[in-house]
């Protein structure tokens, strides 16, 4: 099954690398959108049906945690699984993100297998929403 994915990262290069790595991992992507920060991601969500959000934590304008806080306020957006892909290793921030409802956390640098395993675990869970 193919999933529509939104990649949120302020680095254009990293968005490209994540997209390539997810494809290489064998996880099937349907449509794929990219945003440079949380606000751009929220704007995309207004017009595009997204099954999964992969987001960085530290970004200008609106960071990953701020974006998740906005998502959980909305009845529809809060059902979209969010996975953090970040170099940030600070436990309190990761714990805060999990408390807000993120479904997974992948640390950069990453192997394709780590991405595939995490994404399949989340998307193939019986009631991932």
């Amino acid at each position: 099954m193919a999933y529509n994915v939104l990649i949120v990262d302020d680095s254009q290069t990293m968005r490209k690398v994540i997209r390539k790595t997810v494809s290489l991992s064998g996880f099937e992507i349907g449509d794929c959108w990219e945003a440079g920060n949380g606000q751009e991601a929220l704007d995309i969500l207004r017009t595009c049906w997204v099954d999964l959000i992969l987001t960085d934590l530290n970004m200008p304008v609106m960071n990953g945690l701020e974006m998740v806080k906005e998502l959980v306020k909305d009845e529809i957006y809060r059902k979209i699984p969010v996975v953090l892909i970040t170099t940030e290793g600070s436990e309190p921030r990761i714990e805060e993100a999990y408390a807000l409802g993120i479904k997974g956390y992948i640390q950069k640098p990453f192997y394709p297998e780590a991405i595939r395993d995490t994404l399949l675990r989340i998307m193939e869970a019986p009631h991932h929403d």
Partner: protein, 152 residues
């Protein structure tokens, strides 16, 4: 600077490039750098705070960075453009983050700032503190790069 702080930077550099670009850099003998001139054509610099203060710089030769980013993106890169500079910033961030995680396992706590990227042949590197600059040279099949670590 404590000797046990060197290995985390060395290991993180090898790990990040291997994981993200399938490049196996070979470390050379570390030395104390004199002066401020960069040995490479493009450099990423990031400040570190916590148990002590300092900065890390990764300075790449043109040939090595074009090879590394080509590998990373799966697209041939022929010039140091904005995309390559963006990737240098990301690599610096990942090496800094991975080093800090390794240092944390040894009981040291550091936070990293946002990296800055400087390019141009013969550019200068300004480290945040005035301590000795430890340089760790690396070689790849496409050319050299150097990791500089400078703490109070």
């Amino acid at each position: 600077m404590k000797a046990e702080w060197i290995n985390p930077f060395l290991e993180a550099t090898v790990s990040v490039l291997k994981t993200m670009a399938s490049v196996d850099p070979v470390p050379g003998k570390p030395y104390i750098k004199q002066g401020t001139s960069a040995t490479g054509d493009v450099s990423g610099v990031v400040g570190i705070t916590g148990d002590t203060e300092g900065s890390i710089c990764i300075t790449f030769s043109r040939s090595s960075i074009l090879f590394i980013i080509s590998q990373m993106l799966g697209e041939q890169q022929v010039e140091i453009n904005d995309e390559v500079k963006d990737a240098v910033g990301e690599l610096t961030n990942m090496i800094s983050g991975d080093s800090r995680r390794r240092l944390e396992e040894a009981g040291y706590h550091f936070q990293g700032a946002i990296p800055t990227v400087i390019s141009g042949h013969g550019h200068e590197i300004k480290h945040i503190t005035k301590g000795p600059i430890l340089s760790i040279p690396f070689n790849t099949q496409a050319g050299p790069f150097t990791v500089e670590v400078c703490f109070k």
